[in-house]
C-alpha cells in the first residue's frame, strides 16, 4: 500500500475507533445524567423511608427497597456456599472428564438462559409446585440460579489466579488438600471472589423478569421469607408503564442506579486494594 494511503486509512480507522469509545461512554453518561437530573428532586427522607400512599403510589418507596435488599441478600446467602464450593471442585479436585464437561456445559447454559424463562421456571416450581407462593424465598431461589454461573466462573478464575507455588509450599509442609484449599488458596483468592460475589449481587438487584413472577407485585414490606413483596425494579416498571406518577419513577430509577453504582465501585475498590497489598 502506498504510504499516503496507509496513513489516510490509519487516521480514518483511528477516528472511527475513537468515535465508538466516545459513543459508548456518551450513552452511559446520558443515561446517568437523565436519571439523575430528573430524579434528584424526588429524593427526600420521606421518599426513601416512607410508604406508598394513595392511588398512584405517591409517598415513598421503602417497602420496595426492603424487598429488593431482602431478596438479593437471601439469594446471595444461598448461592455463595454452593458457587464457591462448586468452583473449588472444578479447579482443585476434579479430574478432566465427562462430569466436568457436563458441569461446564450446564453452567454456560444457565448463564445463557433468558431471565423470563427463569422467572416462569420459578413460578412453576417454587410458587406453584412447591407451594411456597409469591415470596422472598421463591424470588431468592430463582435468583440464586441466575447468580450461580457468575459466582462459579469468577471464583474459579480467582482460584486459578493464585500462584501455584503457594499450593506446593502447603503440600510440602504436609497439609491435606482441604487444609491447603481452606487455609491457603481461598484466603489468597478472597478479594477476587468477593468482587465476583458483589458483581453477581449487582446483577441480581437489577433483575425484573425473574422477581416479578416469583416475589410478585404486591406492595408489602416483607418480614419473613414467605412474605411477598415488590422489588424496586418491578416498581419502576409498573410506575413507568402506568405513566401517571413519573416523578416517583424517576426517584426509583435514581435510587436503583445509586445502588448498582455502589456495588460496582465497591467491587472495584476491593480489587484495587488487594492488588496494592499483594505488591
Amino acid at each position: 500500500m502506498a504510504p499516503k494511503a496507509r496513513t489516510v486509512s490509519n487516521t480514518l480507522a483511528m477516528t472511527l475507533l475513537w468515535t465508538s469509545a466516545i459513543v459508548t461512554v456518551g450513552v452511559l453518561f446520558a443515561l446517568i445524567a437523565y436519571v439523575f437530573i430528573n430524579g434528584i428532586a424526588q429524593i427526600s427522607l420521606d421518599f426513601i423511608f416512607g410508604y406508598p400512599r394513595g392511588l398512584h403510589a405517591e409517598g415513598g418507596i421503602w417497602p420496595t427497597i426492603v424487598a429488593s435488599v431482602y431478596v438479593t441478600g437471601l439469594a446471595m446467602l444461598i448461592v455463595t456456599p454452593i458457587g464457591i464450593l462448586a468452583a473449588v471442585y472444578l479447579s482443585e479436585y476434579a479430574r478432566q472428564g465427562r462430569m466436568v464437561k457436563a458441569i461446564r456445559f450446564a453452567a454456560d447454559s444457565l448463564a445463557a438462559i433468558p431471565s423470563i424463562v427463569l422467572g416462569l421456571f420459578g413460578l412453576a416450581l417454587f410458587v406453584e409446585a412447591l407451594g411456597i407462593g409469591f415470596s422472598v424465598l421463591s424470588g431468592a431461589l430463582a435468583l440464586a440460579f441466575l447468580m450461580l454461573p457468575i459466582v462459579m466462573r469468577t471464583t474459579e478464575e480467582a482460584i486459578r489466579a493464585v500462584p501455584r507455588y503457594i499450593r506446593w509450599g502447603s503440600y510440602g509442609l504436609g497439609a491435606t488438600k482441604w487444609q491447603t484449599v481452606s487455609r491457603v488458596v481461598l484466603p489468597a483468592a478472597a478479594p477476587r471472589v468477593l468482587t465476583g460475589l458483589i458483581l453477581a449481587t449487582g446483577r441480581a438487584v437489577g433483575e425484573t423478569a425473574v422477581v416479578i413472577y416469583t416475589m410478585g407485585t404486591m406492595i408489602n414490606t416483607p418480614v419473613t421469607p414467605l412474605d411477598p413483596g415488590r422489588s424496586m425494579t418491578v416498581h419502576l416498571y409498573l410506575l413507568s408503564t402506568e405513566g401517571i406518577n413519573l416523578q416517583a419513577a424517576y426517584g426509583t430509577a435514581l435510587l436503583l442506579m445509586v445502588m448498582i453504582l455502589g456495588f460496582n465501585l465497591t467491587a472495584r475498590l476491593i480489587v484495587r486494594r488487594s492488588r496494592r497489598l499483594s505488591e
Partner: protein, 313 residues
C-alpha cells in the same frame, strides 16, 4: 465464558487420599473423601438447575405442542388466544425476536468491537481508566432502566422525527444495540488481550500502521473469541425482555415498517401472562420452551465455533 481447560499442574493425588500409604489417620482420609463428594455435589447443582428448568418449564408448556402441533405452533401466523376459536401461532413473535436481534447486532457489534479495539490497542492508561469502567457500568445498568430511558426519551424523539408513534423496530434496535455493547466489548477485549504481545511487536517492526496491525494481524488472531462474543451478544439480545417490552408496541403481528408496533417471544409472554389462563397460559410456557431451546442452541454454537476454529492456536 468458562476459563480455558488448562489444568493446574498439581502433584500426584494427595497421599492423604490413598488408602494404601498410612501417613494420615483414617479419619482424615475419610474427611477428605467426604469433602470431595460434597464439593462435587455443589458443582452438580448447576446441572441439577438446568435439568429442573428444562423439566418444569417443559411440563407446563408441553401440552400446547400436543394440542396445536409443533409445526403449526412455530409457523402459525395468527396469535389470538382469546378469540373463538383460539389461535396459537407464534411465527410473528419469532420473526420479531430474530429481526430485532439481528438489527441490534448490526448496530451494536461494530460499536462494541470498535470500543474493545480502542481499549486494548489505542487508549492510553488514563483514557482506559475512564472508558473501561464505563463499559463495565453499562453492563450493570438494569434492563428496566434502559427501557425507561427508551420509553421516555428515545420513543418521543423517534416519534417526532418520523410522525409515527415511535414504537417499533427502530426503537428496539437502538435500545438493544446499546445493551449488547458491554457483553460483546468485554469478551472481545479479553480475546484481544490474549493475543501475545510478540505478535504485535513483530507487526510494528515490519512497519505496519496501528490500523494495519489491528485488522491484518490482531483481529484474525482473536477471531474465535470475537465470534464467541458476538454469539453471546446474540443470545443476550434474543433473551432480553423488559427494555424491549417498553419500546416496541406489543402488537402480535409482523411489522410492516420500521415504526410499526410488533412483538417478540419474550415480550408477548410478559404482556399476556398477567391475565392468561388454561391453554393460553400453557401456550406461554410453550413459548418459554422455544426460548430455552434457542438459548441452548447459542451455547452449542459457541462450543462448535471454538472446536472448529480454535484448534489453530
Amino acid at each position: 465464558m468458562t476459563p480455558g481447560n488448562v489444568p493446574i499442574p498439581r502433584p500426584a493425588p494427595h497421599i492423604a487420599e490413598s488408602p494404601n500409604i498410612k501417613l494420615t489417620s483414617r479419619s482424615t482420609y475419610l474427611k477428605e473423601r467426604f469433602l470431595r463428594y460434597l464439593f462435587a455435589a455443589a458443582a452438580l447443582v448447576a446441572v441439577l438447575g438446568v435439568l429442573l428448568i428444562f423439566f418444569f418449564v417443559g411440563i407446563r408448556g408441553w401440552p400446547i405442542f400436543q394440542k396445536v402441533g409443533v409445526w403449526d405452533f412455530l409457523t402459525g401466523m395468527v396469535w389470538a388466544p382469546t378469540a373463538t376459536p383460539p389461535q396459537y401461532g407464534i411465527f410473528p413473535m419469532l420473526f420479531g425476536s430474530f429481526v430485532v436481534m439481528a438489527g441490534a447486532l448490526v448496530l451494536g457489534a461494530p460499536l462494541a468491537i470498535g470500543t474493545a479495539i480502542f481499549l486494548s490497542e489505542i487508549a492510553s492508561p488514563k483514557v482506559r481508566s475512564v472508558v473501561r469502567p464505563a463499559v463495565e457500568l453499562l453492563a450493570g445498568v438494569p434492563s428496566v432502566v434502559f427501557g425507561f430511558f427508551g420509553l421516555l426519551v428515545l420513543r418521543p424523539f423517534l416519534a417526532a422525527g418520523s410522525g409515527t408513534l415511535g414504537l417499533g423496530l427502530m426503537a428496539g434496535w437502538l435500545i438493544l444495540a446499546i445493551m449488547v455493547v458491554p457483553t460483546i466489548a468485554t469478551l472481545t477485549e479479553d480475546a484481544l488481550d490474549s493475543v501475545s504481545g510478540g505478535v504485535r511487536e513483530a507487526s510494528y517492526a515490519m512497519g505496519a500502521t496501528t490500523w494495519q496491525t489491528i485488522y491484518k494481524v490482531l483481529v484474525p488472531s482473536a477471531r474465535v473469541g470475537i465470534i464467541d462474543a458476538i454469539i453471546l451478544g446474540m443470545g443476550r439480545a434474543i433473551g432480553e425482555t423488559m427494555a424491549v417490552l417498553m419500546v416496541i408496541g406489543n402488537a402480535p403481528v409482523i411489522p410492516k415498517g420500521l415504526f410499526a408496533p410488533f412483538s417478540t417471544i419474550t415480550t408477548q409472554i410478559v404482556i399476556d401472562m398477567s391475565y392468561a389462563t388454561g391453554d393460553h397460559r400453557t401456550a406461554l410456557f410453550g413459548m418459554a420452551i422455544v426460548l430455552f431451546a434457542i438459548s441452548m442452541l447459542f451455547v452449542a454454537a459457541v462450543r462448535l465455533v471454538s472446536r472448529l476454529f480454535g484448534a489453530e492456536d
